[in-house]
Amino acid sequence: MARIDLANLAHSYSTRPRGDTDYALKTIDLTFKAGGAYALLGPSGCGKTTLLNLMSGLLTPTQGSILFDGVDVTERTSEQRNIAQVFQFPVVYDTMTVYDNLAFPLRNRGVSGEALDSRVRQIADMLGLTASLNQPARRLTADAKQKISLGRGLVRPSVSAMLFDEPLTVIDPQLKWQLRSQLKQLHRQVATTMIYVTHDQTEALTFADTVIVMFDGRIVQIGTPEELFERPNHTFVGYFIGSPGMNVLPAAVEGATAVVAGHSIPLDRQYEKSSAKTEIGIRPEFVHLAENGQGLPVRIKRIDDVGRYKLARVTLGTLPLNVMVGEDARLSGDTGSVQFDRSRLHVYRDGELVDGRA
């Protein structure tokens, strides 16, 4: 278990990077606390796997340094860093049994005899692999193989950190639930620093205490799942987290008023006038739709029943807007009016959240 500090870290896959666009990971400074459960969340190609591979030592960074408990490990190999990593596609050693697969990382480090045996059996028990210990690993299903990969990470008793690179991608949906909760449980049991890369917000939000949202090689926000939901720092976070994501509407903001599609909306706080691209963001959860009432007039295009609630797709002028309405809401016409929950409304300039004056 270790604290991991990333200092001025950046990476480019090109040997002679010219501009900013050549960098898969742009300069970041970040600290992972010892024993924390973190998720790196972002769309494909945002640099999250690059960041993970830099920490595990599979890649050497173009610039910056990586510190484990204050010790610079930038030049050290994966083995010396004592990192465990589980990959997107399950890796098992085909010619070995499940037992030998689990024992492999220990044997490579010179562990043998009773210590090896008891540790392997303990991990197999933890993952529910005891029954298949003597089977050849190649005959197992994808999820059992992924459990073995996981087991090979867990089997070493004192790893600095465990890194997961979208480990549940190839797993069946119903088993995903099971493995996900097992992972969470594991974190409580072994109390190792765990970092989980995913593009699936549900996985990130259920696994992690702290979620790091990445976009285009940068970190756009670090926070608890609640913070990401309630106060997205960036329109990207608002859009990426939540299903559906936050409504982002172009607006003109001055003082305590936003003008959207020709309608004035009062704001809680005061904002300076600016020439930057200005938008307001509001989550579908915090928009109220009524058939005939006060608020902004909208046209109702469609209402989808998505289970616990209904989702209304409406347009304000020409701007599309998602509104969450109760399961029992009755909307018959094709027009209505919406009201925004003022305390949940955020103003963004060039994509970044701006705090107004009270």
Binding site: L58, S78, Q85, Q88, T95, N108
Partner: protein
């Protein structure tokens, strides 16, 4: 669903039958026919039953050729397979050198077999061949047309030069098919270079290597042109492999009966080996 039965459909397979008849069935049956008859000048034949087969199977000459053949095939397999794997492991996995290496590797495979024989014949000549002059220059007496050891050395070197590339290309294809994640996982697991080879690369190459062994085994068992051009089976009978011996009997001595019987025995051996390998490979696939 009702099946339509129309016997005229049989006509559709006639072209295939004709082709097969001319290129396989008739020649093979001619050989079978020869193998049970004694022939004399003027196209006179007498039925001899299994006499030629008994003769071939008890012939010391056949045993000697077969033994030479087994030594040759065993030796080239023992060299070409490990060497091919080693070269494939040493080849770059990406970058501009990949295509350079591949082209270089493919070159020997593109040269006609008799040309390979001719090249090596000249290359190894002690009088002016580069290899022959070089070895003799080192103070080692080397003359492949006179000395049995030198003849075998040259023959095996030639085959290794000609065919190791095939093993390299197959092994390389097998290596390239291994996802990066395996190497990354091995690094994380602290595996040594040897462990990576033993537990990742070798198992993943297993299927292509089976094919490589099969191809080299059968091909070397039937090899004719290159040794014929290089040594002509000599000195003496020192490098007379099965196919060379067969041609000597059939065309040199014109003993059609014994040659036909030997052909059939030879054919059955190759067929049996192919069958064994086919079985091994398909069993492997069923398990995987």
């Amino acid at each position: 669903m009702d099946k339509t039965v129309n016997n005229r459909a049989w006509f559709m397979v006639v072209p295939v039958l004709v082709v097969m008849a001319f290129n396989a069935i008739i020649p093979l049956m001619t050989v079978v026919n020869y193998s049970v008859q004694e022939s004399f000048a003027g196209n006179v034949f007498f039925f001899e039953g299994t006499k030629w087969f008994e003769q071939v199977l008890h012939s010391e000459r056949f045993h000697a050729s077969l033994m030479r053949q087994l030594i040759f095939t065993g030796t080239i397999l023992a060299i070409e397979i490990p060497l091919g794997v080693a070269i494939a492991l040493a080849m770059p996995r990406k970058g501009p050198w990949v295509s350079v290496c591949l082209v270089l590797m493919a070159l020997p495979l593109l040269i006609p077999w008799n040309v390979v024989g001719a090249i090596w014949n000249i290359f190894a000549l002690p009088s002016f061949g580069l290899l022959g002059r070089a070895i003799n220059g080192l103070g080692i007496s080397y003359n492949f047309t006179r000395d049995v050891g030198a003849a075998w050395f040259t023959l095996i070197l030639m085959d290794v030069w000609h065919w190791t590339s095939l093993v390299v290309l197959l092994a390389y294809a097998g290596l390239m098919a291994i996802p990066d994640a395996y190497y990354q996982a091995a690094k994380i697991d602290g595996a040594s270079r040897w462990a990576v080879f033993r537990f990742i690369q070798l198992p993943k190459m297993r299927r292509v290597l089976t094919i490589a062994v099969l191809l080299r085994l059968m091909d070397s068992f039937m090899i004719y042109t290159e040794p014929f051009v290089l040594t002509g089976g000599g000195p003496g009978n020192a490098t007379t492999l099965l196919s060379i011996d067969l041609v000597k009997i059939a065309l040199g001595q014109f003993d059609l009966g014994p040659a036909a019987a030997m052909s059939l025995v030879y054919f059955l051996m190759v067929l049996a080996m192919s069958w064994v390998f086919y079985t091994v490979m398909t069993r492997d696939e069923a398990r995987a």
